[in-house]
């Protein structure tokens, strides 16, 4: 596939701030948070949303950091609505009120995702790095009462995976519409903290059995999305459903990325909203074209039957584990560096369990 054949993107990930009251050790934000304190102003974000709609984007995820820390989030949601976009807010739910959620719904918010870190309040607060469980519970209640569809999100790892049954029970008790149980992706802060996060194979298999069983017996209508840990799979995840194919990310300081984690790859340079339209970045910039389609692929991907299924896996993971962004994702059984994954799992198994919290460091 060459660039002029690229299809329009569907999804904008609007990282409107990296500020966040939580300090989760598996955050997908970059490690060097301090570099990104300068945030785009309201007018620029509105222009981005308009352009997004014009090039064919259907859905915008307002995320961060904590998007509710920006006082203009309602104004941005209203602008997304006016532009015909489906808007989804991804929040920690610790600094909001029923009035605010009502106001956001009135502005045109279509759905909200609220995270918890664990079902045990003290563990939730320990992982988040601050007291937050009761506030999150209240946010879910308030969101439901305002009529917003709620997805409860829980990131899975060694410390909470054994409570998967309790997670599903809690989602049923809180009467959320969807439950997203997503294994940690080992990028950004999570890669830094991998030795304290990677679960054991026994834990992973047990959790999968529990989810499969409860899905079959559930009568509440709860939708459960279970994102499996790629380190324990034979094939890589179809990262982003293909580079430059569906998703476009805009960072708080206005950089246009094919993937939220791709900024950490030193050999790539990215367009900025100050010098490129979204259209220009998507269709013509070298970085969005670089891994689009299959022409860029090395062997064994190039001749593999699965190349249109997993798109060679995750570019950021290939870079982190092999030092070469062009390599096949080492998760793949056929990848030359596949044994690296086994190393990481073993290393984590023997490591101490301390993790470093996500922080802005001076």
């Amino acid at each position: 596939m060459t660039s002029h054949q690229a299809d329009a993107p569907f999804c904008l990930i609007a990282e409107i701030t990296y500020r966040c009251p939580l300090q989760c050790p598996y955050c997908s934000n970059p490690l060097q948070l301090n570099r990104f304190r300068n945030e785009l102003d309201t007018g620029t974000w509105k222009r981005i949303l308009s352009e997004a709609s014009e090039i064919g984007i259907v859905q915008v995820h307002f995320t961060g950091g904590e998007p509710l820390l920006r006082t203009d989030v309602g104004e941005l949601i209203a602008h997304a609505k006016k532009s015909g976009l489906y808007s989804h807010l991804i929040t920690a739910g610790v600094n909001t009120s029923k009035e605010q959620l009502e106001s956001l719904r009135h502005s045109g918010l279509d759905a909200i995702q609220i995270s918890i870190q664990d079902t045990v309040p003290d563990e939730n607060d320990r992982l988040a790095g601050c007291p937050s469980f009761s506030k999150k519970k209240l946010a879910v209640t308030n969101a439901k009462e305002t009529g917003l569809p709620v997805t409860l999100n829980i990131v899975l790892h060694r410390h909470n995976l054994d409570r998967i049954e309790e997670m599903i029970q809690l989602a049923q008790d809180w009467q959320v519409d969807r439950l997203e149980l997503a294994h940690t992706q080992y990028l950004g802060w999570a890669f830094h903290n991998r030795n304290s996060l990677i679960p054991s194979r026994t834990q992973v298999e047990h959790a999968q059995q529990v989810v499969d069983h409860l899905r079959e017996t559930d009568s509440s209508g709860l939708q459960i999305l279970h994102v499996l840990p790629d380190y324990y799979q034979s094939w890589p995840k179809p990262c982003l459903q293909g580079w430059g194919r569906i998703f476009m990310t805009v960072t708080p300081d206005g950089v246009l990325l094919p993937c939220q984690a791709s900024r950490d790859i030193p050999e790539l340079s990215f367009p900025r909203v100050s010098n490129s339209s979204l259209h220009e970045a998507w269709f013509n910039s070298s970085v969005f074209r670089k891994f689009r389609g299959t022409d860029w692929m090395p062997e064994p991907c190039r001749t593999c039957d699965r190349r249109h299924i997993d798109y060679g896996g995750c570019r950021c993971q290939a870079f982190l584990l092999t030092g070469d962004v062009h390599q096949t994702d080492p998760v793949c059984t056929f990848a030359p560096e596949h044994e690296q994954i086994q190393h990481l799992i073993q290393e984590a198994d023997q490591a101490n369990h301390e993790f470093q919290y996500r922080r802005f460091q001076d």
Binding site: G56, V58, R178
Partner: protein, 94 residues
């Protein structure tokens, strides 16, 4: 969901699913968090009738719109798929 098909007495579109006309791609879409379905004309008509009315009324209205050319079993299969995906709920399950 394999052992017993979901009930479909009064199908209603889920609150997180939104119908949308995509003027760039010239297609009907059903959008929901992190996904979308592309709909044909019949699918669009079915979803517009998923407002909580009884299934037999929905089918009757659909037959009127499409001059009795709709295969009802296909409509029911389509609706069951949407229930399984959480995009349609039965608001009065048996």
């Amino acid at each position: 969901m394999t052992s017993n098909a979901p009930s479909l007495n009064h199908p209603q579109l889920s609150p997180h699913a939104r119908y949308r006309w995509d003027s760039i791609r010239r297609q009907h879409q059903l959008v929901f968090p992190e996904g979308l379905l592309i709909l044909n004309e019949t699918g669009t008509a079915i979803l517009k009738l998923c407002d909580g009315r009884p299934l037999d009324q929905l089918l009757q209205e659909l037959q009127e719109q499409f001059h009795n050319s709709v295969r009802e079993q296909e409509v029911i299969t389509f609706l069951r798929t949407l229930v399984t995906k959480g995009l349609v709920n039965d608001i009065a399950p048996s």
